[in-house]
């Protein structure tokens, strides 16, 4: 019986003719593109020849660049008119600002370069592609609990943590005279994060990453009308195709964020701006970009802060072509390198590969750059509030005398100026690595808290909490916590911070953060399983969403009583018979409203969306609703007024929040 049914249902999965034709077409083009393999034997350059060549090149290029891009530090508007405002600021410890592009180029010490023989011309595929075709990989490598969606996925650790302040739990609901609606579940109240589904209370915007379009639908008391489809900008500058991952709807503008990809060119982080004056016909304002791959972005007070990383190698750098060693910014038709005075280099480090953290701010309403800076060193995670941005990245501890941590984390602190300017202020470092953005927070009085998991060279893992001041100097710390465990979630704003470590059981630590010079562990609650995500849930309550055993275990909801941080208890828990939920690794996938007492998230691969509330008797499962996409990662839940809308790129399903009966269902075809 099963076999017959299965066969019939799979037979139904038919490849549309249109798709067939498109794929065949792209195959034909690929055949035509296949280059003749050329064996290139390159000569070794002698130092003398190379030096002579270099001198000529330097003379020519310095002359050109110098004329084109004056190095005036106080420039308000650049020659091609891109930057509208910038502020000079002091140098910072440990970083040097070059006087001109020459000094930037000198990082790449390439007076003598030896090329490897038999280099094959790049035909657009990477070495990795070639190798993975040959080695048979067992389907066993991945399991359902580790199946990561496309958005915001990090490498090995995928668990997400969320932190809202104890004093002001973010419910992220906006109340207008007409209707209350929910917004993206973000880390810091007032600081927006990008996502695949957005609403402004009037319209629902859904990003179709597969086709670079945004579907705009008008909800009306549960009824849904698809009103428009916005086609985003497909190509940027030199014709590089853009892939959009997430978007913002903020300050009456829609901004789609993504990356250009090109086998031969430098990728760019792109922000495509549209005005929502008429939401049913958004108007394109501009497309801004900066070199590198997107690290992350935030919006605060009408300004978009975008961070990307780009590395350049001594082996591909070409003095004549500034694009091979300078970070660039661009609008839809103009581009130019970031001013040398806005590039921050490490004073003494000189190695063959340099990574820039390109840091820009853009005024949303006019789609114009405010600040464009680059700090050497790259970045992986960011924490942003209204005052600062902290960018962190891990690096290998190459000091062989120090066995305390294989990896350390470098921190760069930027200050946000009153006009949305970004100024690098300080750099610092701590042992270990962070889990994600929730491993960091800045207190109201400007102290930076960070929890890390470190590993000694012997293999022993241990966990730490560090507090640093506004110049990123260490003021307080607790090290060597929970040996052999790893951090799974954290919440560090407010007077009391919480974090969870796990190996077999899950200690939930409560730590007193009031004195930056002396943080103190107040309690340690040990329970089976762990929380991936922590969310304050009203007076004296902390919600945890995680697993009941290991990463493959069942999803578990916990409500902790944190009224007395010295005596934290687990008041209630609920274990579901599901093993996969996007919320375990992406905080934005949750709909949590303390005021409406709603906890919602999508699970698994069969279009289920769970809705809970919490009462003094425990978690109440209000409903399991049908979501528009099979796979949890593509679904988001939001409410406008008394209606719940489950949205994905495939469609929207609406439900009455009181009766939980379905009201309407709309499907987005093409």
């Amino acid at each position: 019986m099963f076999k017959e049914k299965f066969k019939a249902e799979v037979d139904n999965i038919k490849l549309p003719e249109k798709t067939k034709a498109l794929v065949l077409d792209s195959m034909e083009r690929a055949v035509l593109r296949q280059p003749i393999k050329i064996k290139v034997r390159r000569l070794k350059l002698t130092a003398a020849v190379a030096a002579m060549v270099a001198i000529c090149l330097v003379a020519v290029s310095v002359f050109e660049i110098y004329n084109k891009y004056p190095q005036n530090m106080n420039v308000i508007k650049t020659p091609s008119g891109i930057i509208i405002n910038d502020e000079p600021e002091a140098n910072i410890d440990g970083l040097k600002r070059p006087a001109n592009y020459d000094e930037v180029y000198e990082l790449f010490d390439n007076s003598v370069i030896e090329f490897e023989s038999d280099a094959v011309v790049d035909d657009g595929f990477t070495e990795e592609d070639a190798m993975s075709d040959e080695t048979p990989q067992s389907a066993a490598q991945s399991n359902s609990a580790n199946f990561s969606g496309g958005i915001g996925n990090k490498g090995d650790t995928e668990v997400g943590t969320n932190s809202t302040t104890q004093q002001k739990p973010t419910t992220n609901t906006v109340t207008t005279p007409e209707t209350e609606f929910s917004e993206t579940n973000t880390q810091v109240e007032g600081v927006d994060e990008s996502d695949i589904v957005k609403t402004d209370g009037n319209y629902i915007y859904i990003l179709k990453t597969a086709t670079n379009k945004v579907v705009i639908a008008k909800p009306n008391n549960g009824k849904i009308i698809k009103t428009a489809t916005l086609a985003l900008t497909e190509q940027h500058l030199n014709g590089h195709y853009i892939n959009y991952d997430e978007m913002y709807v903020n300050s009456n503008m829609l901004i789609a964020v993504g990356n250009t990809y090109s086998a031969n060119g430098i990728p760019r982080a792109v922000a495509d701006f549209y005005s929502l004056e008429n939401p049913e016909a958004p108007k394109h304002i501009n497309t801004l970009s900066q070199t590198g791959n997107v690290v992350s972005s935030r919006i605060s007070n009408g300004v978009l802060y975008m961070f990307s990383t780009q590395n350049y190698s001594a082996f591909t750098v070409d003095k004549q072509n500034p694009k091979t060693y300078l970070p660039f910014i661009s609008t839809k038709d103009k581009e130019e390198p970031i001013l040398s005075s806005n590039i921050y280099l490490f004073g003494t480090e000189k190695d063959s590969s340099q990574t820039y953290l390109v840091s820009c701010s853009m005024k949303i309403k006019t789609a114009e750059f405010i600040t464009a800076k680059a700090v050497m060193g790259g970045g992986e995670e960011i924490f942003t509030n209204e005052k600062s941005v902290y960018v962190v990245r891990k690096f290998l501890n190459q000091n062989n005398d120090d066995n305390s941590a294989i990896y350390k984390t470098k921190i760069v602190r930027f200050e946000i100026g009153k006009n949305g300017t970004l100024s690098p202020i300080a750099v610092g470092e701590v042992k270990g690595t962070v889990l994600n953005q929730f491993s960091m927070a800045e207190s109201d009085d400007g102290y930076f808290r960070i929890v890390t998991t470190a590993q000694k060279r012997t293999g022993l893992k241990y966990n730490n909490l560090y507090i640093l001041n506004s110049r990123l100097k260490l003021t307080g710390r607790i090290e060597n916590l929970a040996p052999d465990e790893k951090i799974y979630s954290a919440r560090l704003s407010g007077d009391i911070g919480y974090f969870v470590t796990y190996r077999e059981v899950d200690p939930l630590f409560a730590v007193d953060l009031r004195n930056p010079n002396n943080p103190k562990i107040l309690s340690k609650l040990k329970i089976p399983g762990f929380s991936n995500y922590l969310h304050p849930y009203g007076d004296g309550l902390l919600l945890g969403i995680g697993k009941d055993s290991n990463d493959r275990g069942l999803i578990k909801l916990s409500m902790f009583n944190v009224k007395d941080p010295k005596n934290v208890t687990q008041k209630h828990k609920k274990v579901l018979s599901e093993t996969y939920a996007t919320i375990n690794k992406n905080h934005k996938a949750a709909l949590i409203s303390v005021s409406k007492n709603l906890i919602g998230f999508a699970v698994g691969y069969d279009a289920k969306y769970y809705l809970f509330s919490y009462s003094s008797k425990g978690f109440v499962q209000k409903a399991v609703l049908k979501s528009p996409s099979y796979f949890a990662d593509y679904n988001r839940g939001l409410f406008i007024g008394n209606y719940l809308y489950l949205c994905s790129y495939e469609g929207i399903k609406s439900y009455n929040l009181t009766t939980l009966k379905p009201v309407d269902s709309v499907s987005f075809g093409i």
């Binding site: 099963f2 076999k3 049914k5 299965f6 066969k7 249902e9 799979v10 999965i13 038919k14 490849l15 549309p16 249109k18 798709t19 498109l22 794929v23 065949l24 077409d25 792209s26 195959m27 690929a30 296949q34 393999k37 050329i38 064996k39 290139v40 390159r42 000569l43 035909d123 595929f125 592609d129 993975s132 075709d133 048979p136 990989q137 067992s138 389907a139 066993a140 490598q141 991945s142 399991n143 359902s144 199946f147 969606g149 496309g150 990453t209 597969a210 195709y241 892939n243 991952d245 990809y261 090109s262 698994g604 691969y605 069969d606 996409s629 099979y630 796979f631 593509y634 790129y649 075809g669």
Partner: protein
């Protein structure tokens, strides 16, 4: 740079391999298989189409290295699994691949078995598909995936157990 270009010494291209795969025929024969396998793994049409596209583009690149129909089928299955492993979604799009209404998933009946299969762990879904739909034997599956046949048997057994629970009346 004129100095450098004068030093390039081109070599004539390698002689054509007469055993090259007939790409059009391969596509006709196996596009549905690759698509279905990708759909089973990713659970959605868009990713399945991305993977389909990528698999056959890799076939273009590797057409000289595949010998015979059996090898081709196995190669396609392995590459499809690899592609869905690396979660292809972030790579560049080559041309517009559009979703249509005929995906066949809006009309899932109450007693459908497909959702239950889709909800199995990754390593079991593939084996269920290959065994019950493609009709491969345990030995053949072991050979294609490069895992011991004992592993295939035990995964199949576990999948059957899970499906029994989910589909109570079907097994």
């Amino acid at each position: 740079m004129f100095m450098f270009s004068a030093l390039l010494i081109p070599v004539t291209e390698a002689p054509k391999n007469t055993k090259e795969v007939d790409l059009a025929a391969a596509f006709e024969a196996y596009c549905d298989m690759v698509y279905r396998l990708a759909f089973i793994r990713t659970g959605n049409v868009a990713d399945a189409e991305d993977i389909l596209s990528e698999v056959f583009l890799r076939l273009v690149k590797n057409k000289n290295k595949i010998d015979g129909d059996e090898h081709l089928k196995n190669w396609l299955i392995r590459v499809t699994i690899n592609c869905s492993n690396t979660l292809f979604k972030r790579l560049k799009r080559r041309g517009e691949v559009e979703l249509t209404e005929n995906s066949g998933f809006d009309v899932i009946k109450e007693d459908a078995v497909l959702p239950a299969v889709l909800s199995l762990p990754e390593n079991q879904k593939i084996i269920v598909y290959m065994y019950y739909y493609e009709g491969y034997s345990v030995e053949e599956i072991a050979g294609i995936l490069g895992i011991p046949s004992g592993t295939v048997k035990s995964r199949l057994a576990r999948a059957r157990d899970k499906l029994k629970i989910k589909l109570s009346n079907e097994f």
